[in-house]
């Protein structure tokens, strides 16, 4: 943090700006305050002009490394589109699926990507409702993970369709033939929920972005300024605008949390509504939601660590934020353990032959390595590491744990989708799933798109919600209690 660049306007006759408050005169208290400022973003009060600069400088000039990465990722996206076209022309048979494993990697990716999206909403909406102030700098980075993960997740039901050119038959549109889709099917509750969640996430993110786009409009010139002016919608920051803004954010925060829970529950119902062994479990609803939050938190941690290092956002993203996220990930890991044990225990105990066969397949059969890896990554490693504050605030260790969590959660979905389908009541119809090249290429391509869209977004729009940081810094303070400075949180 460049201390020497802090601008100090000339003191006015009445009062100082909130970013100009001097340190207390008592040496002990001054030391406490300096320590508090280092640890806590909302106490490390800077002039908004400086905060703007900290955000805008990395957005202005891009290194060669960035452009090389963009080209590579764009190549990945082209690979995705080419493979998808090849698959659409030749037929779904280029995948590795067969009877009875009719759903495989595409559905796994779908579930995984929607899962990642949940943490973004949780951080920006639920933590806001719960008044967790440390969510301020991270909410937009998390919400952006949600937006692009959902956009890629929305593509996968199209990729896995047998006749993708008829996809519009899944939409309820009025037509001359009076054909309608069937809301009996979980496959239609899915797009309804995802449409709600995705569109409302976009609107939610945009609402939060408007004041920051106004800031960009005020600090850029030329074509960029024309761009920001259009999307700032003429925002000035009047009381009316802020009042509507706050109410709308409240409606969205309170509204999108139940939607978030419902979305992954509905995705889980794609499975639990089926009579398939390993799928027909009533606990899938909350189990999937917790799993989604778990993997999503890991993904957001990864995104934040990468952002902090590559865009030099050390002012905004402090150990306190990673500490909070990592504790949250630990709680989710333990909750996931609880739900997974429930899901495992009931069929194990009842011992129906088909469930028993599936369990043997996972524990000692061909798929055992996947199953054990999943348990180690999801249950063991977070439980062993995230207890320690040192590990939680050490970014390298946290990055590794978050990546392992992603691996574990991806394996969990693989075990649920293609591996469970391989076993059913009639042994003559058991099968096996073999991964083929088109599936790998499309998976890699969609993830490339996600990353590419994300990094381009971070260079166009500020990835830290600056107005939330100003609000937090303006309304937080320290209060002297005896010889101690107490962090006073803003009361509303």
């Amino acid at each position: 943090m460049p201390e020497e660049n802090i601008s100090r306007p000339s003191p006015t006759e009445r009062g100082l700006p909130y970013w100009e408050q001097p340190l207390p005169e008592d040496k002990e208290l001054a030391k406490q305050e300096t320590e508090a400022r280092k640890d806590n973003l909302l106490l490390d009060v800077r002039a908004p002009a400086d905060v703007n600069r900290y955000m805008m400088d990395p957005m202005r000039r891009q290194s060669r490394r960035f452009w090389v990465l963009c080209v590579i990722l764009a190549g990945g996206v082209l690979m995705w589109w080419g493979t998808w076209l090849y698959q659409a022309i030749n037929g779904i048979g280029v995948e590795g699926i067969g009877r009875p494993v009719m759903w495989a990697v595409y559905i796994v990716n779908f579930v995984y990507l929607i899962g990642i999206g949940h943490a973004g909403t949780f951080i920006s909406a639920a933590l806001r409702v719960l008044k967790f102030e440390w969510r301020r700098p991270i909410s937009r980075a998390a919400e952006t993970v949600t937006l692009f993960a959902l956009s890629m997740a929305a593509v996968y039901p199209l990729i896995h369709l047998g006749r993708v050119w008829k996809f519009y038959w899944l939409l309820p549109y009025p037509n001359q033939r009076q054909l309608w889709p069937s809301y009996h099917s979980p496959l239609l509750w899915d797009p309804t929920a995802i449409l709600t969640y995705f569109s409302c996430s976009i609107l939610f993110a945009y609402i939060s972005l408007i004041p920051d786009i106004a800031m960009m409009r005020d600090h850029t010139t030329g074509r960029w300024q024309a761009f920001y002016r259009i999307f700032a919608l003429g925002w000035r920051g009047t009381e009316k605008e802020w009042a509507h803004h706050e109410t709308t954010q409240n409606v969205f925060s309170y509204g999108i949390i139940p939607v978030m829970f419902s979305v992954h529950t509905i995705v889980s119902w794609d499975f639990s509504m089926a009579l398939q062994a390993g799928w027909h479990s009533t606990i899938f609803g909350p189990y999937f939601v917790v799993g989604a939050l778990f993997s999503g938190t890991g993904a957001v941690i990864i995104a934040l660590i990468v952002l902090r290092q590559t865009m030099n956002l050390k002012f905004f993203l402090r150990p306190e934020h990673f500490n909070g996220m990592a504790m949250f990930m630990l709680v989710l890991s333990l909750t996931w353990d609880y739900f997974y044990f429930n899901d495992y225990m009931a069929p194990w105990f009842a011992g129906a032959p088909v469930d028993r066969t599936l369990n043997i397949l996972l524990q000692s059969g061909a798929y055992a390595p996947f199953w054990y890896t999943m348990l180690i990554c999801n249950a063991l490693i977070p439980a062993l590491t995230l207890w320690s504050k040192k590990i939680r605030t050490n970014l390298t260790a946290l990055f590794i744990v978050a990546v392992l969590v992603q691996v574990g959660m991806y394996l969990e979905r693989i075990i649920i989708v293609p591996f469970s389908l391989a076993r059913n009541e009639l042994p003559f119809s058991w099968g096996v799933y073999t991964l083929q090249a088109p599936e790998t290429m499309i998976t890699i391509g969609t993830f490339c798109f996600l990353i590419l869209a994300y990094i381009i977004f971070t260079r166009i729009f500020p990835i830290i919600p600056l107005w939330e940081v100003y609000e937090g810094q303006a309304l937080h303070g320290l209060r002297k209690v005896g010889h101690y400075l107490l962090h006073l949180k803003s009361a509303e």
């Binding site: 009445r14 009062g15 700006p17 107005w467």
Partner: protein
Amino acid sequence: MADIHLLGLFNNLEAAADAIDRLHKQGTGDEKILVLSGSPYKPEMLGRPHYHGKVGLASLGGALLGMLLAAFLTVGIFLLYPLIQGGQPLIPIPPSLIVFFEVIMLGMMWAAFTSMLVLSGMPVFKAQPYDPRITEGYIGVQVTLDEKLSGQVEQAFNDAGTMGVKRQALAPAIDLNFRRFWGGGLAVLTIGAVITLLFFYDVLKINFPTNMNEQFSYGYEQGPRLAAPAESVPVQGPDLIAGEPASLPVPSSPNSLQRGKTLFGINCVMCHGAGGTGNGAVGAFFNPKPFNLTSSAVQNLQDNELFLVITQGFGVMPPAAENLSPEERWDVINYVRTLKK
């Protein structure tokens, strides 16, 4: 004189509050004062009246609209398209509840967003008084007033400790690019929606080749039908095996011959001609020509073979199975036997 806007900038809350107090003392009403800030402050912090927005109410309205849409998507579609699936009732309640929940939330949140824009007057097409320093934490106090009074307002601002005062006339310029962008976007969306509806209702049509429109299989009455290879296995049952006695042959009675002649006239004359010699009007177009039924080649065939030819067709001759019942086919065969004279 005309009304103008005056915008005073302050870099701390106390000064801005002080300025507003001074304006109140000068007699400027709250409705003429507007506060701009880069982060949200409560109006009470500045001595301003609380503002009650209507976004919450609009969200409820949106939720209601969502409920109506959900009712259509579930109950409406189930009644419009009454197909039974999977032992479930025609209007299953649990799936309907799911759709209701999602669409109600959708309506509520979209209504909140739309009302936020509409109630704030966004996008703002007219340029308003503004200073870029507002997004640097400064607070702006805007007063709309008669130009004559601007002097005392500026004095109040200076006494409170302003960082600068701006003026702007009340008839501001319209940001044309802005209006073009949003107006154009709306127009594009509307036109797109209308064109899409025209496609949905087959007013506009693009004749794509539909997937199973053209079948590889040969339909009835569709040639060419190849003769079966010499030693192939017969198709179906003893009826049609050459050399085997046919089941249910109709004896050659006068009634049968009468019926046969009529049916022959309807079905066969057009190609084989009135005397069965192969000189029919339609038959003239074929190559090879239709068989001469009076020839010894045809008359020496077994009854069953004739039956086979009539039922399944031969070469260009289409099968007559759809037009003639088996009894009628025997009647025709009886008649054809009389043609050899």
